[in-house]
């Protein structure tokens, strides 16, 4: 427990100092991650995937950002109302290319999870990411999003401040954003709250992540008025990476077989670099046309 709290404190200082730091923390997180990977890869049923994706032991968005990019500087606030800690955004280098990085962040222990509202953004979070993606467009920076959320926050204030409108505007803007966008589902991809950061030229998914239109509990509650049938609903919802890939919803499944999370993050950073090489020369018209077609063909 101490280890986790200590790790969390470091996570917070790191973010607050707006620098990526700390080899000590990396070591601890590595040990923790090892356990997470082992645990998750042993599990099989779709609901086990859900539980695995929700596990506190899983890497969170900040681990990905710090493991993949260098010189991350977090940028706060939506310039309208507040700063939402459930959404992290900022600028960082990958190699010598500056990127805009956006993510939903769950936090890793009780304290940081409360701070991050368990990764459930309020409208301000989506408006912050909207501001930063438009900023990326202005300065021609590619955007990488990390998605890990059970969904947008279901709160009174969230509704009153236009949760639906905030998500709708993000989706609309991402659809024709004149700069390359990549989205990676790293844990839970819950409904519209996840999609608000997952409209991209390519969408990748970690092999143990889940992506669903509704939580299995919510689905079970609606269909059978029984949230305890969540496991059954998880099965029916086909929310695994394999299914998302088969349905054409994600373009790449990222292996989590490696026992070394550092290696996985390094592999991902190479994948991102390669992806960027492929799209950076593309005219923005072509880019957005392809993006439109990518989503246009899903369904009928």
């Amino acid at each position: 427990m101490d280890n986790i709290t200590e790790g969390a404190t470091k996570e917070m200082t790191a973010t607050e100092k707006k620098v990526s730091d700390g080899k000590a923390r990396d070591k601890k997180s590595r040990e923790r991650d090892k356990k997470a990977v082992e645990k998750v890869s042993l599990e099989k049923t779709p609901y086990d995937f859900v539980k695995g994706a929700r596990s506190k032991e899983r890497l969170t968005s900040l681990d990905f950002i710090k493991g993949i990019f260098t010189g991350f500087i977090e940028l706060h606030g939506d310039r309208r109302f507040a700063d939402d800690p459930a959404v992290v955004g900022g600028v960082a280098y990958l190699g010598d290319v500056p990127f805009t990085v956006l993510a939903t962040e769950k936090g890793r222990d009780t304290r940081t999870r409360i701070k991050r509202n368990f990764g459930a953004p309020n409208p301000e979070g989506y408006r912050k990411s909207l501001r930063l993606m438009k900023q990326a467009e202005k300065f021609n920076r590619p955007v990488v999003c990390f998605v890990d959320t059970s969904g947008a926050f279901c709160g009174i204030g969230a509704e009153e401040r236009g949760q639906g409108q905030a998500i709708a505007e993000n989706i609309l803007t991402l659809m024709t954003l004149q700069t390359p966008v990549l989205s990676i589902l790293i844990g839970e991809g819950g409904s519209g709250g996840a999609l608000a950061l997952a409209v991209a030229d390519e969408v990748w998914m970690l092999e143990n992540a889940v992506y669903s239109v509704i939580s299995p509990e919510g689905c079970a509650n609606i269909l059978w008025r029984d949230p305890d049938k969540a496991a059954e609903a998880a099965q029916d919802l086909k929310l695994t990476a394999e299914w998302a890939s088969a349905l054409g919803v994600v373009d790449k499944i990222i292996s989590e077989k490696s026992k070394d999370p550092e290696k996985m993050l390094k592999d991902i950073s190479e994948l991102i670099e390669n992806w960027y090489k492929g799209v950076c020369a593309m005219a923005s018209d072509e880019l957005t046309q392809k993006r439109y077609e990518r989503f246009r063909k899903i369904g009928l």
């Binding site: 969230a158 509704e159 505007e169 989706i171 999609l195 409209v199 669903s212 239109v213 919802l237 989503f295």
Partner: protein, 284 residues
């Protein structure tokens, strides 16, 4: 409340256009429908005369076809994309049967009706969602039809008038239904970027993935009085925050107060307001 207007007779072409559902004709005894708002038992024939608005101003839910008749000029509506219907993309248990049953009962193939029409002589592309088809939920077919309406409108430089009523994304189509939010939004954006006008009319209830996509993307957003409009369901919010919800939570009137709607328009005035707005945005 200024709902006295409701008792005035609707414009005659509208009324003539009113098509009684067969159930009403079949029943010799006058059926009534109880207003969920004031409790008054309104005779069905009265409802038909007053665009399905209770004397208290409550707007009853109406089918897509009924709304088209109330909203568009007589005989001006020509349907598009009517053959598109949902498949069962993730083989969700019971969904195929449910779809068959809903199709039979509603005599529709899907939860949205699309086409072209004139409203007060203004030509537009139109989509109207149907609460009687799986509560207007959006699956692949709804997403496809709405996308096509915007593509069609863009091709012909037409404005779009869209009437939403929806429980959100259709969970029986899993992640495919979620993707329809992106797909429709893309079409809305392109239509908009080409300088075309999109007017959204939000009716009770407009929630979930539909609110979080094309419902909230109109250049002008109109709502029907008393309509519930939100992202999360009220019950879910209540369970999450464990607090009593404030008076009028997610009602159109509260959304207007918070700045998320342009205007609330009673049903009887919708045609004239929409037609004026279309005229103001006409290109020619």
């Amino acid at each position: 409340m200024a709902f006295g207007a409701i008792f005035r007779k609707p414009k005659n072409e509208l009324e003539k256009g009113g098509r009684s559902p067969e159930e009403d004709v079949e029943n010799e005894v006058e059926m009534t429908e109880k207003c969920p708002s004031c409790g008054w038992e309104s005779p069905i024939s009265e409802l038909w005369k007053h665009l399905h608005v209770c004397r208290c101003g409550h707007c009853f839910r109406i089918s897509a076809r009924q709304r088209i008749e109330y909203l568009t000029d007589k005989d001006s509506f020509s349907e598009l994309f009517s053959g598109i219907e949902s498949k069962d993309p993730i083989e969700f248990p019971g969904y195929a049967e449910k779809l068959e049953q809903v199709k039979r009962n509603s005599r529709e193939l899907e939860a949205v009706v699309c086409g072209e029409a004139t409203i007060g002589d203004e030509r537009c592309a139109i989509y109207v969602m149907n609460p009687y088809f799986m509560m207007g939920s959006m699956g692949a077919a709804v997403g496809e039809k709405i996308t096509r309406v915007f593509e069609h409108a863009q091709e012909h430089s037409l404005p779009v008038v869209g009437c939403t009523v929806s429980g959100g994304a259709r969970m029986q189509e899993g992640i495919i239904s979620l993707m329809q939010m992106a797909k429709t939004s893309g079409a809305v954006k392109r239509h908009s970027d080409a300088g075309n006008f999109y007017l959204a009319l939000l009716t009770d209830p407009t929630t979930g993935g539909v609110t979080a996509s094309f419902a909230m993307q109109g250049d002008i957003i109109i709502a029907e009085p008393g309509a519930i409009i939100g992202f999360a369901g009220a019950r879910v919010v209540e369970q999450t925050v464990r607090k009593k919800l404030p008076q009028g939570f997610q009602k159109a009137e509260l959304l207007l107060e918070h700045g998320f709607l342009d205007i609330i328009v009673p049903r009887i005035k919708q045609r004239s307001v929409i037609s004026t707005l279309l005229k103001m945005h006409s290109k020619g």
